[in-house]
Amino acid sequence: MMRAFELTKTTVTYQGSDFPALNDVSIGADEGEIVLLLGSNNAGKSTFCRLLNGLVPKSTPAQIDGKVEVLGRDANRTSVARLATMVGMVFQEPENQLFCMSVEEEVAFGPENVAIPRAEIIARVEWALEAVGLTGYNARSPSNLSGGEKQRLAIAAALSMRPRLLVLDEPAYALDPTGRVDLYALLRDLRERYGMTILIAERDAEEMAELCDRMILLRNGRVVADGAPNAVLSGIDEVVAAGVSPPQIAHLSSLLADRFPGKTRPFFTTDDAEKEIADLVRATGSDAP
């Protein structure tokens, strides 16, 4: 299987900056993985995302050391426009990434740029709009959509390129709680149906354990943890120290383990938490000193 991306000893220092935004990062992902990139403000999440389609360093000048490979290509030697045909990018704020006068043109813009035949574009527009739940919005103006709808449209506009790698920089920004849940369901569905690789940058780990296959924890530009969600969340102190909000249930699990050593098994879902705590309380009689 091909690697979706592979960073090898990558260090990124923005022009005019005296410290690296990403520092000696070696990390990669297989195609078809859902990877969550966690980190606080300024941890380097956006830098990581923008490295993958070449915006860093091609639009924002920076010194890059080490290697950045995306879908088998050297990102430093491939133009942004070329990478964009394989890597879909959704930026944090939906406001300023929508620039067309209608929803359908917004979604068609990418495929038009790479000269996809018209009939195919029409099919892709319908597909992408359906995938994000915006069927029938074709003629609406993007500026008159609600915040959540704009976010969905930004995703559809990236999807219509049929990217093999979809990068989303804090996609839950300003979405209401159920809107978030819908978005995560959509991302899982995209992976199931199309085998897309998905990279999500987030500062908040709540609800994320069920979504992703892997969590990468960034702190001051360095990778401090990388692994299956439950493995990373078991080291909750590291998550907290990195300025990321830990999921409440995982946090509870580790607090209980500290307070009642050996009495509970680690848990990550509300159901498991309920069982463990019920056992803990009911077991009280038997293990009383």
């Binding site: 606080s40 403000n41 300024n42 609600s146 915040g147 959540g148 920004y173 300003a174 979405l175 209401d176 709680p177 159920t178 809107g179 849940v181 500062r203 908040d204 709540e206 907290v240 300025g243 990321v244 909000s245 999921p247 409440q248 249930i249 946090h251 509870l252 607090l255 209980l256 307070r259 009642f260 509300t270 938490a273 309920e274 705590i277 019920a278 803990l280 309380v281 009280t284 009689g285 009383a288 000193p289």
Partner: protein, 285 residues
């Protein structure tokens, strides 16, 4: 609801069947009535487009109701200027970049009190206090535009606090902040609250609401779907879902454990829940 407090002193915020339509016909408020007593700590929550921001803008007169009444400190907003209302209500916009324009943080923070004609000395005292409260005294000489989002947001809040309002309205103040910064912000709000400030917080983060707020006003399609204490507000998952909301996981877990008779009270943070368990186990032994 705080009927007893409201009865003692007139509510500082009072909406009576307020309606509002934007030009172009979107009916964003469809008859909203509520009272907020002095010193209350209120969250306004609801789905995207449910009317939260529109409601908040009525609280300092940026928007005036098309019908019905909005009274702030007993005065009708429709006949009072925003500048006058700003002495009572401080409003922090979601986007800090919409208000920062001075060349230094200290100038920025003095801008409000200067507009309101506090004397020069008061102005300095108020500005210093606001900077200290937000923990940004060391940024005094910096240019606001060059700061990080978290710091810009703190400057924006400080610049509103410096006008020494009695009510503070914050529209999604934690978006773009990380967990440390939003915890700091909530702690600062706690300090203000203990000094008697009335706080109205708009947010999509139900964990913050559960942990820090007393009362929850849930908006849905321009109406108040319900208005309740925190415990009660998060007790009915279906009702929440209809309003595009979800209770925080710990709150849900604590409720389930209570239903099983394993806990006696609710909990809003993992730590609270653990402390309760320690107590429960202690008692059982």
């Amino acid at each position: 609801m705080n009927v007893s407090i409201a009865a003692q002193s007139p509510p500082i915020i009072s909406l009576q069947n307020a309606r509002f339509s934007y030009e172009g016909g979107v009916e964003a408020l469809r008859g909203v009535s509520l009272n907020v007593a002095r010193g209350e700590n209120v969250a306004i929550v609801g789905g995207n487009g449910s009317g939260k921001t529109t409601l908040a803008k009525h609280l300092n007169g940026l928007l005036k109701p098309s019908s019905g009444k909005v009274l702030i400190g007993g005065e009708e907003t429709s006949t009072t200027s925003v500048a006058t209302l700003a002495r009572t209500v401080g409003y922090v916009f979601q986007n800090p970049d919409y208000q920062l324009f001075c060349t230094s943080v200290s100038e920025e923070v003095r801008f409000g009190p200067k507009n309101m004609g506090f004397g020069h000395d008061d102005e300095s005292a108020l500005a210093e206090r606001a900077l200290k409260l937000m923990g940004i005294s060391h940024l005094r000489e910096q240019s606001p535009v060059s700061l990080s989002l978290g710091d810009r947001r703190k400057v924006a809040i400080a610049s509103v606090l410096a006008t020494s309002p009695r009510v503070l309205v914050l529209d999604e103040p934690t978006t773009g902040l990380d967990s440390v910064e939003s915890a700091q912000l909530m702690a600062t709000l706690g300090v203000l609250r203990s000094e008697g400030m009335t706080i109205v917080l708009i947010t999509h983060d139900m964990r913050l609401v559960a942990q820090h707020m007393d009362r929850v006003i849930v908006m849905s399609e321009g109406r108040i779907a319900f208005d309740a204490g925190v415990e009660e507000a998060f007790s009915d998952p279906d009702r929440l879902k209809r309003c595009k909301l979800l209770a925080p996981p710990i709150t849900v877990l604590a409720q389930r454990l209570q239903a099983q008779g394993l806990l006696t009270e609710g909990a809003t943070t993992p730590l609270q829940l653990v402390e309760q368990l320690v107590r429960v186990r202690g008692e059982q032994q």
